[in-house]
């Protein structure tokens, strides 16, 4: 039995609804993996795991929380396909199974001493929350820290209570945007009615000392990257996470090639410079 091919049993410890179709699932691993070095609970922000619902199948999900030693795993999951739909009808105490971690996450070691501009669109907040929490854990190692996050409507903003709390920190600047105002549930931190790229306006950025971890749908990348480049951010310092059909996670099933790179092992986080020339990467 290996952690890369055989899912390990886990139990749903908590479910917290974050928006109409998205919830935060906290899982507890029931067994330590046979090879102690790798366990699905220890990962780099930006990596992903494969989540199995028995009898339904498996889906790649980005980590959303911090690595843990006690086997606890946080996953922010939208009801989108077969596996996630089954998961959304599960209750606390139900069993699932996980294998991972897979791929390359955000290059944290490169971020030491630099300013960081995190940009999340929609569900892209899930992996960026993992990164944000990791950065805040070692806050003094990094320069200025800014989070831009856009969602369709106020009630689609994920982790809004957490963000409201974080917004009070002096060492973190948060700007939120929604496409349309709509109904405003309580606890929403202040946000603009604007598109995500609009949040870049008026930001004070030192391009040579800034890295931009980016996560969102393809459309967000296509609209964000040109203004980021125009601001002078070098393409090798824009790091983005790609979505692909990653079935095996180990580079053998052949579904997730981006040019001649494989999303599941060379990514899912890539420097934009590696994707620039590749047709259909974004």
């Amino acid at each position: 039995m290996t952690t890369s091919t055989t899912p390990l049993p886990a139990r749903i410890k908590a479910i917290r609804q974050l928006s109409g179709d998205t919830s935060l699932f906290t899982l507890q691993l029931l067994k330590q993996s046979p090879t102690q070095q790798t366990t699905p609970a220890r990962f780099q922000p930006g990596q992903f795991l494969q989540l199995s619902v028995a009898g339904v199948g498996e889906a790649p999900i980005s980590y959303c929380g911090l690595p843990s030693v006690n086997g606890s795993i946080e996953l922010c999951i939208r009801k989108a396909g077969r596996v996630t739909t089954a998961l959304h009808s599960a209750v606390v105490g139900d069993g699932v199974a996980v294998r991972g971690p897979f791929g390359h996450g955000f290059p944290l070691e490169q971020y030491t001493g630099t300013n960081l501009l995190l940009v999340a669109g929609g569900l892209g907040m899930a992996p960026l929350r993992s990164l944000l929490l990791a950065l805040l854990q070692r806050r003094s190692c990094f320069g200025a820290l800014t989070l831009l996050y856009g969602a369709k409507a106020p009630d689609a903003l994920l982790f809004r209570h957490e963000l409201a709390d974080l917004a009070t920190r002096k060492d973190l600047s948060i700007r939120l945007a929604v496409d349309r105002a709509g109904a405003c549930p309580p606890g929403i931190p202040s946000c603009s009615v604007a598109l995500l790229p609009d949040l870049l306006e008026g930001l004070e950025i030192v391009p040579q000392r800034t890295a931009v971890p980016l996560c969102g749908p393809s459309a967000a990348y296509r609209s964000l990257i040109p203004p980021l480049l125009a601001l002078g951010i070098p393409p090798e310092r824009i790091h983005l996470s790609l979505e692909r059909r990653m079935q095996c996670g180990t580079g053998v099933c052949g579904h997730c090639a981006v040019g001649t790179l494989l999303c599941c092992i060379d990514g899912p986080v890539f420097a934009y410079s590696a994707l620039q020339a590749i047709e259909g990467a974004l």
Binding site: A54, G55, R245, Q247, T250, C253, A257, T260
Partner: protein, 329 residues
Amino acid sequence: MPSLLLPHADIKAWLDRLGTDGELHAPLRGRDGAVRFDVVQQGVIPDLQALRSLLPPKKYLLPPNDTVLRYTQADGYHLPLQATTRLILLGLHPCDLAAIAYLDRQFFGDQPDPIYAARRQRLTLIGSSCRPDAYCSCHLSPSPLPAACDLFLHQTATGFLLMPETPRGSAICQATADLLRDYEPKPPPSPRDHFGVAMPPPPQTELDPRLPDWQELANHCLGCGACSLACPTCSCFELLEFGGLDGRTAERLLRWDNCLFKGHAEVAGGHSFQKDRAQRFRYRYRHKYRGYGPLQGVPSCVGCGRCRVQCPAGLDLRPLAERLEKGAP
């Protein structure tokens, strides 16, 4: 050291002897005229002249439908038990051997696939020489893959020259020494000589989607996927899960997939990253002639010609590959 010759007259006895060491599989011509790798019954002589079997030998390593995990409520997911019968594959031409070398590199990567490893371990590979036809492109292939096997049979007018390459191959020669004769004339060529001529590595520039060839190929393609089924290195698979009616068990199935199918790059919610057929052609092309992931720069086309023989629309990526890849420095 002199080479060993297996005279034509003794081949039947030699095959019978081989069969005692494991289940012998070789190319057999069916009543429909198609050649398939299948179990060789005693007294049957396989068709070692046939150039290409309908399905390549990948079916022994990666069956078209394969249970890869079983689930029970009590024990969770676990690997299924593997059959351990030894299989002897006889009559693998150098292109098919190169294809197995490619699959080995793919599945024995950083994290060896346990099921593939178990299947591979039980195989003894016996290669045999061939005479390429118009569909073969092994001599043009830029593949750096070795045509490695345990034992290679070089066909001559009087019989087969036996060239062991591994201890397993030598053991077969020793066990059948009484049927073999010394062969003095000039040393036989190495099996590698039958496969591939070194070409410069493929250029690392991106493919130009504006090239009219892509759309032209896409316009003629029927999308049937026969080329990938017949390809000895096409190994895309999807994983499907079937829950048992008892609600407490499940089975995860690996099934061959196909990069020319529309659903291949589809993600949850229905978005596809390879919507156009021309895009899917380039996806296939990159894998065949440039390689991806850890095998970047290792083309996976071994020149067996199966895709060209099987394509109902008579499509061929090869001329395009020759044009695109030959400009390499």
